[in-house]
Symmetry: C2
């Protein structure tokens, strides 16, 4: 790749400082241990955020991300950042959307391509670095607004977003931040559109298995669907739907004060 040589002052006028960055939505599901020995662990849908320690937005939370280096593909940059934060290589990673508004970043023009990564939290044995934290996600939504609360058991981040339908033909919305004081940049928008994308994909793909351990019970799997979709599912219906996607093993999970459950795994052959 050729470097750019600036020749004279005329060229300078046209030279807008421009950078490409990538921001990554790292989603997972957290277990909250219950005091009642009979109860299953409560699950929470969660996202990994980083605390900023430099200008701009110093002290605010943001999505893990960074600049794409010269000579580096955008997806490679996303992968690099992901490995840097998690120490895991084989993580599901999908490009979401590119934010190209001129004034997103107060320093200069930064075009950011967002990615979504899904991870099974149990694989994160190493403790994550101390400027990173998992936040549980709670969303309430009506016709016109989305309210999101993120909670890491220590700090609560709330923001509110206005939805307006772009056109009737598709279900695309234009999002606008109404309230936000703890998140940097336009990251509330990225979070909301990522959640929306994940919910959709849950319904028509097997994407959920990217955030599951190798072996799991059907109840656990159902719980993951439920916390992400934000609604209860009926057992028989759920089991019918996922029946041909999973495979029984001979193992059982015992120890709860109730009937043991069969461990399943994702069916990779068909």
């Amino acid at each position: 790749m050729k470097k750019y040589k600036i020749k004279d002052d005329n060229d300078l006028k046209e030279c807008e400082k421009l950078s490409i960055s990538t921001d990554i939505l790292i989603f997972s599901v957290s277990d909250e241990i219950q005091s009642n020995y009979r109860k299953l662990n409560k699950k929470h849908f969660s996202v990994l955020l980083a605390k900023r320690d430099t200008y701009p937005f110093e002290g605010k939370w943001c999505l893990p991300g960074g600049f794409v280096k010269p000579g580096e593909d955008i997806e490679d940059a996303a992968r690099r950042i992901l490995v840097d934060k998690t120490n895991i290589h084989d993580i599901y990673l999908e490009q979401l959307y590119t934010y190209g508004e001129v004034n997103r970043d107060p320093r200069m023009r930064v075009v950011s391509t967002s990615y979504m990564a899904l991870i099974d939290k149990n694989r994160l044995n190493d403790k994550i670095s101390n400027n990173l934290s998992w936040f549980n996600i709670a969303v309430t939504e009506d016709e016109k607004t989305i309210n999101v609360t993120l909670d890491n058991n220590n700090e609560e981040i709330k923001f509110k977003i206005a939805k307006t339908l772009k056109e009737k033909t598709t279900d695309r919305y234009k999002y606008k931040i109404l309230e936000n004081d703890k998140l940097a940049f336009d990251h509330p928008l990225i979070i909301v559109s990522g959640i929306s994308r994940l919910k959709n994909k849950l319904e028509y793909t097997d994407i959920v298995f990217n955030m599951m351990p190798k072996y799991f019970t059907l109840s656990e799997l159902q719980q993951v669907y439920e916390v992400i979709l934000g609604k209860k599912l009926l057992d028989p219906a759920f089991r019918r739907i996922i029946a041909n996607k999973v495979e029984k093993t001979n193992e059982m999970r015992t120890g709860g004060g109730h009937r043991p459950s069969i461990l399943y795994k994702y069916k990779t052959t068909n």
Copy 2:
């Protein structure tokens, strides 16, 4: 937006010339008039291409596109290019994917955000500029390859693309160009992924109405589905599916050598 000032040679080393561009897939459906007076016009799924008259890829065809200007949002740039080519303002426009590989463009690093636009060709009264041309799209596909033929009744563009499944959990494929000699850049990839996106959206949204005239018959609508999806649909099934999306008018289309058909319009109230 602040302009960038280069201070010394050290900075120059880090200054990679980088640009943002946008490429637009403008899809439509063309009518081919039949000689048999009884027959309906045959429809073709089509895409608008531009002939390059400068380096690089001079003489090859490419998607309409261009550089995002300093101080211009990416989506505004896409809209500007679209209006420039079509003279129509209210066109459906949707961001598709951002191509961020380092060596996409031989001149320098160019990150390109692709968009898909859908249009009713009847609205293009003005003749389009003479470096633009509509190409009919024909796709054949098997497990591992996609063959695309584009035809503007004068020139035929063929290319072949290899598909490899990225992971089993979702239906995401990695595309690689196997054969291509008439299209510039990585535009075969953009075309293929755009077609795929449109096919998907046809099935679960009302996106098709963005390429229909205000009034249309159900047979015409069905034909549009058929040419894009590349398969025949059964009449009763089709009519059931779209029944609640359209509204009867009092107008009829007469003149063919057969039973007249009722004109419908997209139902905007519910």
